[in-house]
């Protein structure tokens, strides 16, 4: 990788330890991803926020560097482990709460916007076409590359943090013009968001850096988010390119059989004890739609609904929050289903959800069984 003279001297430690570490991270990442240089970025989105995932090591690390490190560009943040407004309802221990608040504090000290959301592309203005960003959250990186005309690697928590501190990121494959060698042909008829989630999960398994995808019908936001979330869960691939691709591209069909394989892998229960909605977190459009679907109906079991704080504030003003709460929903901001300490296998055997991303983490991290259903079916089966 080619570094400028100034970058070289920072890597040697001449601009302090924080700069040296940040450059060491970007150089290692750049060498790993065949980048030839660093390029300026305008926005970083960080993962590595939930105490459940980063643990004591992460908490101590962030607390240490926050004394000296400051972000140089607009920097937003992934969800954490709970919603401070209702954390007392979930029986988390004191240690978890204090360590999580320390992490929150460290990021704020570094100048990070405490957005606690995995859908930055929905709650912040999108910069102009072609802007270089550094997004660590996988569904957000895929969405940014595929739908928002932005350019990002699928960053790690560390390369995104180093990028935020330096305002630069490695110029790796996803930032360049690419030409995937695989085309996935969508063959399943009448898809819903669950189908698109499974398609994404399948694509992430067969794709490497990016994939061509053809045969998609017009998709709503819920469906595009499901597809990006699904792909981010199963592999390293971080871009959909819409179309058939070159004629020499390997063509792979996503048909009923492939869909069944994904379903069988993630669906492990016939029904759930609770319902979770919002992985990725729900945006205002989805909340509006959900409030409409729940008119005059109520959930017959617990239903946790995850959304960013800004979306909750808007929903409250419009009246959606009251409508959802009337229907029995527990509304949670600042956190999400993935790696949540709020769902424990001690009290829950199985969860019903329409999210493939959520299903993957519930199954593998929380250790609970999962019952997959599209939202329409959930509303039909679980409300009266």
């Amino acid at each position: 990788m080619e570094l400028t003279k100034e970058e070289e001297s920072a890597l040697k430690g001449e601009h302090g330890e924080i700069m040296q570490m940040a450059y060491r991270i970007l150089v290692a990442t750049g060498e790993a991803t065949d980048a030839e240089k660093l390029v300026p970025i305008e926005w970083a989105h960080l993962s590595g926020v939930n105490y459940n995932t980063i643990g004591d090591a992460g908490e101590e690390f962030l607390s240490g560097i926050s004394k000296y490190a400051r972000v140089k560009v607009k920097t937003t943040l992934n969800p954490m482990g709970f919603d401070i407004d209702n954390v007392s309802n979930y029986g988390l221990d004191e240690n978890f709460i204090s360590k999580q608040l320390s992490i929150k504090n460290s990021y704020e000290t570094m100048g990070v916007i405490p957005s606690f959301s995995c859908i930055p592309y929905e709650i912040f203005d999108i910069p102009k076409n072609g802007t270089q960003v550094a997004f660590a959250e996988s569904n957000a990186a895929i969405h940014a590359n595929s739908y928002d005309n932005l350019k990002t690697n699928k960053e790690s928590a560390f390369s995104a943090l180093a990028s935020a501190i330096l305002g630069k990121s490695p110029y790796s494959s996803l930032r360049k013009e690419d030409d995937p060698n695989i085309t996935i042909r969508m063959k399943v008829k009448n898809p819903n968001e669950l189908t698109y989630g499974m398609l994404g999960f399948f694509a992430g398994k067969v794709g490497d850096t990016s994939v061509n995808i053809s045969g998609l019908e017009e998709m709503d936001k819920r469906q595009t988010k499901a597809m990006c979330g699904g792909m981010g869960t199963s592999g390293t691939c971080a871009k959909f390119i819409f179309g058939e691709g070159n004629s020499d591209c390997e063509k792979i069909d996503f048909d009923e059989k492939e869909m069944q394989n994904v379903h069988d892998e993630l669906n492990t229960a016939e029904k759930g004890d609770i319902i979770t909605l919002g992985s990725p977190q729900l945006g205002l459009d989805e909340i509006s739609d959900l409030a409409g679907k729940l008119k005059g109906r109520s959930f017959q079991k617990r239903c946790m609904v995850f959304m960013p704080r800004t979306v909750k504030e808007q929903s409250t003003k419009i009246g959606y929050t009251a409508e959802l709460e009337r229907a029995g929903c527990e509304i949670l901001s600042d956190c999400c289903i993935c790696l949540s300490p709020l769902i424990s296998k001690d009290s829950v055997d199985a969860v019903t959800t329409n999210s493939i991303k959520g299903a993957f983490y519930l199954k593998n991290s929380n250790g609970v069984d999962v019952n997959l259903k599209p939202l329409l079916q959930i509303v039909e089966d679980e409300t009266r």
Partner: protein, 128 residues
């Protein structure tokens, strides 16, 4: 050396695995001991070794485990992989542990318990 991910100069005894390592799930972050019964390095300590393995796998949060074992003084002196992955690359960068990749042939020729030294500045590896 194929690639230099984190530069440095080391000398140590090889601890080699033929299996990938998932730092988040398999390595005790205090003791640096491999805790996965199904791994060929089960119950082995990574402390002060030159760890040679095909590549890292699993969650990127595993990088914090590498940082933790370094903070707890139970980390390897250096790591050598066949294939690079971002978790190991960023973990070693964070912890300032030298990391290089080597060819498949070179990987096959390295044996457990060998003494090995390398200096990324001169792009040289020595075996004894």
């Amino acid at each position: 050396m194929k690639k230099i991910l984190v530069s440095g100069k080391v000398e140590g005894i090889v601890l080699k695995s033929e299996k990938p390592i998932n730092f988040l799930g398999m390595v005790d972050k205090k003791t640096g001991i491999i805790s996965d019964k199904n791994h060929d390095l089960y119950q082995k300590s990574l402390k002060d070794t030159v760890l040679v393995f095909p590549s890292g796998v699993g969650s990127s949060v595993g990088a914090y485990t590498i940082y933790s074992i370094k903070s707890n003084q139970t980390a390897p002196l250096a790591m050598i992989c066949k294939k690079v992955d971002l978790t190991v690359a960023t973990g070693c960068a964070l912890a300032n542990i030298p990391l290089i990749t080597i060819s498949d042939e070179e990987f096959s020729s390295i044996k457990n318990g060998m003494k090995i030294s390398f200096d990324t500045e001169f792009n040289q590896i020595h075996y004894q």
